[in-house]
């Protein structure tokens, strides 16, 4: 892991962002540090961290980064949903081994910013975000599941 990654991603590493507010330019601290420091506004969740430890501090957080060291490790999807279910409304940024075939799922779990290690082809990403005409489940996005559409 590089030194820079220890301090989180910088705004210019964010390739896709689905928010209108100004992008936070503060270094992210670890979950442990965030729980100890009363003024931290950005935090980075590693796969082994328990996202629920952050719940008492959600009001002061502007940015939560969720690191995917390997795309195969899906713990970050649960971390994202846990935060959104608890009412977190700040930026939720997927960082690390974030690939075009995962960003659609990530978006549904509540991620609204993406800072992939390797930039994703813009056209491929556009296609991927728009891939599914509908969805089968209720998740952390606002899409109505198919079962809802069927019984409107």
């Amino acid at each position: 892991m590089t030194e820079q990654q220890d301090w989180g991603t910088s705004p210019d590493q964010v390739q896709f962002r689905f928010r209108d507010d100004e992008i936070a330019d503060v270094p992210a601290v670890t979950v442990d540090s965030c729980c100890d420091q009363t003024n931290a506004t950005a935090v980075r969740i590693e796969p082994g961290d328990d996202a629920r430890e952050l719940l008492p501090f959600l009001d002061r957080l502007q940015l939560v980064e969720v690191n995917f060291p390997a795309y195969t490790d899906g713990r970050g999807y649960s971390a994202a949903r846990v935060l959104r279910e608890a009412g977190y409304t700040g930026e939720l940024r997927a960082v690390g081994d974030v690939l075009v075939d995962q960003i659609g799922f990530m978006r549904r779990c509540g991620f609204d910013a993406f800072a992939p290690d390797k930039p994703i082809n813009e056209d491929d990403a556009k296609t991927a975000f728009a891939r599914w005409p509908e969805v089968y489940q209720s998740a952390a996005d606002t899409r109505k599941p198919i079962w809802d559409l069927r019984h409107e």
């Binding site: 490790d73 713990r75 999807y77 279910e85 075939d101 491929d124 509908e134 969805v135 069927r150």
Partner: protein, 543 residues
Amino acid sequence: MYLYDSYDQAMVDARVEEFRDQAQRRLEGRITEEQFRPLRLMNGLYLQLHAYMLRVAIPYGTLNSRQMHMLADIADKYDRGYGHFTTRQNIQYNWIKLEETADLLADLASVEMHAIQTSGNCIRNISSDHFAGAAADELVDPRPYAELLRQWSSFHPEFSFLPRKFKIAVIASDTDRAAMRLHDIGIQIVKNDAGELGAAFYVGGGMGRTPMIAPMIREFVPLDQLVTYSEACLRVYNRYGRRDNKYKARIKILVHELGKNEYTRQVEEEFKHLLDQGVEPPLAELERLKPFFADPDFVDGPKTADRSDPDFALWVERNTHRHKHDSYVSAVISLKPVAGIPGDASSEQMHLMADLAKAYSFDEMRVMHTQNVVLPHVRIADLHALWTKLEAAGLGSPNLDTIEDIIACPGLDYCSLANARSIPLAQRISTRFAEKGKTEQLGELKLKISGCINACGHHHAGHIGILGVDKKGTENYQLLLGGSEAEDTALGKITGRGFDEDGVIDAIETVTDIYLDKREDGERFLDTYRRIGMDPFKEALYD
């Protein structure tokens, strides 16, 4: 059976296009094989020893004649004229070309079929009782619940990169025909004291290297919380299942290491939280699904068949199952001809099964986890005509649940993980017992063969199990006795040192001879084993 609406069709069509893109990127060299691997796996495409293998999902094993005809056409068009029915109630094709896979998936989509989540570390095809909707002993048809869960689990955004694959089975009778407690989640639809339907959840079962029987973690989940409870079980697993070691990553290890009580506590806590999150479809959705599985229009007719032909009588005795309507039976088409490859069917045979389903079984078939095919609703009056046609096509083997009805994994003939061959062994065993005329004498005897420790051939759950291992570069077979995948779920025990191929066939004959010698009235092999224990078998094998 369930039919797609425009939503379901659009999802499957979108998947075909997604895969077409992914395969194109691979073929153009824009992504590496390493990057392509998880994508093809999510679409059921494996790279085997000789070629790509494609696994097609048959949700809870149910399909109609149009779909079976398509499976036959696919075998001819993209493969070598046959397919292989699997222990997950699916079908696999062994000789697929990457360039043609997207077209194949489009053909499948045209008959409401797909290969979604038939591999990869996600929720796999959901299995169920192959006699669902037909069995005399079921509480309700379990398939509407399986379909509800199929839709919930399809493209689940949170659970597509689990620590390991995840298998769910749903049954609704006390007799377990789906190996329910050997699944990651086993669900039994039950009735509580108030007469309401709900679901008993068993979590953490499985075979593989470390076989475990799932403990029950909840006696009764109300039907309007079924998806929410499943989501809670999965979330705890996704967050805390082991990811450091592939062989310890299944949920059974998590449940075992945390202990049933602690796992249950965590699930209940997550469940309580999720109840407020609106993840549960309305009961109206379950009500929408139920009519798809309603009884066909059964008509009264003869309740017995003329059994004067002894060959026909034997087939009726062996291969039919009691139906909830007394003028009908469920008839099993054995894909285990003597010396055949367990579960293989040629395209001609698939077309014939489809035609027979249309003519005699309200256009419906089921794939069994024992790699046979069921016609669920056959009029007793039609049985002889059906049997005559099956016999003529080599599909009339009267051997359901006998020593010839072997479950075998593909083994070293196809699979890159295997240590030993399974198929030739199965062929030789069925030949040996058929030639000696012992099959019928032995009665119910479930023999299961895996070519490696991953246990795809369910050897842990066989009355007799065989495990192929590699012993200093030669194939060696261990023998297990006493397993069961039924409601009396049990794991087999290894007899002792292994055997070579000839030796293990002799060993099976030795243990069956002990059974014939020691059995008491009405005892199956498994019953005798349970009564007398391992020692008499061991003595005969090794002394």
